[in-house]
Symmetry: D2
Subunit: 357 residues, 4 copies
């Protein structure tokens, strides 16, 4: 195989990490190449520039670090907030609990994740509640159980829902009262901001969040996430932690420069808005399809629905990729910054046809 | 700042990770973009293709994993070879000992590094010897000291020298006899192969190496290293280890595809040969400069020399970047795949002038 | 306060670790003193003798190690069976999950505990079932979730019940088929053997158990547990692990010699039988007390019952100590090797009175 | 074998942990038995009493924890002072470096030990110097090397010497200036105090020590060490750390009560003085033995000497146990709280005879 042009390729709804990088990110990636030699390990001009850009974006003098992926971002952030004998409160569907292969436990050398209840209306939407946090933090006080030290929110959640500003504030208030730090897994932070229409600071430090893992990959980068410490006291020696953990890029510019493409003209927000709109379009297209049971309404870039298994099989046979992980035919359809309306429409049509069959 | 063309920029001799990516790597990076959507986590076509390519390169059915950087590659490879109460034998100047911020100890949960003696002729060239290994492995047998389990060689070494095929074989023979596994830190593996003119298999599995960390970044990639297990029994469940350790790229294609650029037409070897040649050119140019004390002859892409401190200062003042880390004015001048002869000549001229001043 | 004789002191039902050491253990503890100087770290005569004694007890050539407490025994045993990216299947009430402060996660550097379902009849008795194991081990196969590697059974369970020989065998059979190792937390192993009336080998290696943590403390020792590897391949370098983990006693004889007291004349079994009998006596005495809801029948040395909260308060006010940890007034009454029938009767009488009030 | 009286048994000079427990410790161990039932995990009366006793001994409101052995005491104390990417400065002969099988690295999840120079007069006496600390702490400031965070002193040292009050103060002063915490490995703390004739506070908190691991085992306990935090801010949540690390005794009274025996009538000091006196006696007896090269004068309870290898062999053949670990016949003869003058004299006579042969 050699490089060549190709026709518009098929798109999938499996994950927003199936998409490539957005044009702006690609342009700045190549731009980082132009200087030839550049100091390594973040001493380059782009890294400094993006860090400054993120401080401006959040309107505060936060500490910014770039790491390679979300597991590392979350795990290192959590490890900086707790010791091995502490615990982290999260929802039962939290990515840190279900899809990071014990990364948080590994990087913290053993911190336990305590999952909130799973039966309430909020839990069914993938959210923690103040009550769930309060319940977990007050359940045990003895030294035979890890002491809660952090509450972790995923924003947007793994179920494609979004915490309102008030919801974040309410949880953070409990956290402060109980001496917990607040971590936000923002793998799809941009999608949440796009939905809420708020300022990025409103659901982070102004609401009580101490550390944000700001997802770049799913927003259009080739590789990389930012760890943003709003409470700078918590990032003491974090640079050493990143280095030791194998997360310090030597040619850092190729990790950081593409962020300039996201920040330029609020591309990050445009990318997220587009992905959210595509999810809404898909949701609308499926609303009246017999056999499709839409679960909750999408608030970010994912649609959750139950389909008859034969329909699932038929769609897979046609080449569509998507995940099933909810019992009884529940499927996740994920849209990304590059999902084309035509892809949505074609997929919806095939679903309709498959369910009719 | 916006993307734009620039004149030929200044080059440095600080590190081969100051260089950008080589054209072939860049081309394949962009090529990985063309398909639009692609399965994540290594299920894409490029990752499969590169893995196959590396198996062909090494002429054996090895297990290949891609991680983000050298600290991670070395640390995860070592962690797969030893438990926390084991130890790793290496040279006193080994990168794993001196420049990874305790990464190997962290990922292995405490394995100790045992450094060989530092006074012999070999040690002054940055090399371990069979005697040094034998001495360390037989020094203690009691349970109050970590049990040696791995010997780690850096090829090319941190001092720009290269182990001959026979030297690797001799150390590996001791290792096998003493039930140690053999790890090779090949951050500059290509430079060693270029120097030796041997087949890559000759200084790896055919010589007794169990695991190679094959450096991509310093060879011309934007980001990424390959961990190559020649003894496949050692890579059991390594995919889980990589995931947990935050080293599994979701958009893996952007990490793996550029390797196709290195493999294409033996670009990896051409890049290394060029860097080595530039070091030889610099060494030759400095041979008769009064005040410059060249240390050992370069065998890879680095020149080591002692300069008068005023000369060092003058060169830094002119904008040249390079590291000093040997007592008494010792400097390291590192060449890379893109170092231009003109840069070498200009640098040598400035050194000559600085030393004359 | 100076040492002196005292009248028969009050006994409690809080835990079997409220009891002191049994006379036989005390006698051998002091006997270990008689030789004056003795080689350290287990090279003494008693340690060798007890190890041999345990091999005889289990009728197999097992590997035996002595550690200080149950958290260490379980955690080190589990760490020897799995890597950080593996997982351990256990019941939701398993001590390793609920009362070791994340010890297993710490010593294994991150292994996750996967708890079985909690709603079945077996689960309400604190037991894992083959189905629960099968369900957890087949739930996920992807690298984003820790790979199951061990199943851990507590025998007797934390709810005072006992797995039958057939139950252990059935779980071990699933484990073997799924390539899981079998760990038995035997903090109250003696109590289980006493109940089943089987040979100790019948519910351990003959039933498929790979490693047993044989509890000494609750059986009458002042301090110490034994880790017994029936599969000796799994104990490779375990002595180094114990040393590194701070679990190697220098004056080992004081840890090991008291075990001779337990082995002598099957004192371990007599101690357990007595404790079990006291629990049965208490259970019988409470059977017809109005207001007391006995939960399941005791199979080992604990009685579980729900009492009205005022009754609980009244008992506490009288100086009785016991734990409440089941919602709705559930209490645990634990008997030990030294619980006197008079104490049981007095406690039962006070419960009757408190419930009548 | 059954318990019985024996004649005065042979004594050894291998280690002070070859000795049993001193009578006062044994008495209180048995006294802890008298109450029958007693709350577990340190809620018992003896643990509270000893903690108070240690606070009185040190004349300050320190935090006291009891753990099982010295590796655990040192490792947990160090882990509470540094993170995985930090480092600990110690002497090249420090027990934490040479004889704890990587325990400090394990419990801290990777902290590196940086050893001071080994050639100076102080180093030959097993001591760190302010210059050595300063040199290590200023050597590197980059994030590629673990950041120094703690200096660890062994008092008395592993070579049987003792830091003067001024020496401790001088090192602590450097430490404070460089933002390092000061840890004291006091496995033989009592022997140092006995030699210096100072108050225990003078070489600990009054001199700038933050945490002391106060050795009980070598001073006459059957098992156990105390971790004493003079800076109470450093012991935050340390109880959880101890529990998770498998160092919390359930029947704590048997670990803590014997300390009452050490504190009673300053038995700890009497024991140490006796051991020191026996070392002095042995040193004096060997002073004029031809063939014996005494190394430095003993300041605590160890004598170091070089003997001809045939003499060493002859002594071993006679049944004497001692360690050789210094090249060229260097031997360590260690005295303990129970070493009899007759044993010293007999050993010295046999050395004289062996060297004469």
């Amino acid at each position: 195989m050699t490089p060549s042009d190709r026709a518009l390729p098929l798109q999938h709804f499996a994950s927003d990490n199936y998409a490539g990088m957005c044009p702006n990110a690609a342009r700045w990636f190549m731009e980082a190449q132009t200087s030839g030699h550049e100091p390594a390990y973040g001493e380059d001009r782009w890294t400094q520039q993006v860090s400054e850009g993120l401080r401006e974006l959040f309107q505060t003098d936060c500490d910014v670090y770039f790491v390679f992926n979300g597991t590392a971002a979350n795990s290192l952030a959590l490890a900086s907030l707790c010791q091995s004998y502490h615990s982290v409160i999260c929802s039962p569907v939290a990515h840190i609990e279900t899809d990071e292969c014990g990364g948080p436990e590994f990087f913290s050398n053993g911190s336990k994740l305590l999952v909130g209840e799973s039966e309430s209306a909020s839990a069914r939407l993938g959210k923690l509640t103040p009550d769930a946090v309060e319940s977990l933090v007050t359940k045990r006080h003895d030294i035979h159980y890890p002491k809660p030290k952090v509450v972790s929110l995923t924003q947007a959640t793994e179920l494609g829902t979004v915490y309102s500003v008030e919801e974040v504030r309410a949880i953070a208030a409990i956290a402060k009262r109980r001496h917990l730090k607040v971590h936000m897994d923002g793998a799809r932070f941009a999608n949440a901001v796009a939905t809420l229409g708020c300022h990025p600071s409103d659901i982070t430090w102004r609401a009580g969040v101490d550390v944000l893992c700001f997802g770049g990959t799913k927003n259009g980068l080739p590789v990389g996430e930012a760890v943003v410490f709003f409470d700078r006291a918590l990032s003491e020696d974090f640079a050493w932690r990143v280095k030791q953990a194998g997360q310090l890029a030597s040619k850092m510019r190729f990790i950081s420069a593409p962020w300039l493409g996201l920040l330029e003209n609020d591309t990050w927000l445009a990318n997220a808005r587009h992905a959210n709109a595509m999810a809404a379009r898909l949701h609308a297209a499926l609303r009246d399809v017999p056999g499709v049971e839409l679960l909750h309404a999408p608030q970010a870039n994912a649609v959750f629905a139950r389909l008859p298994q034969p329909a699932v099989n038929a769609l897979h046979a046609k080449g569509w990729r998507f995940y099933q992980f909810i019992a009884g035919g529940g499927c996740r359809f994920m849209c990304s910054w590059d999902t084309r309306p035509e892809s949505v429409d074609a997929f919806a049509a095939d679903i309709r046809q498959a369910c009719g069959a």
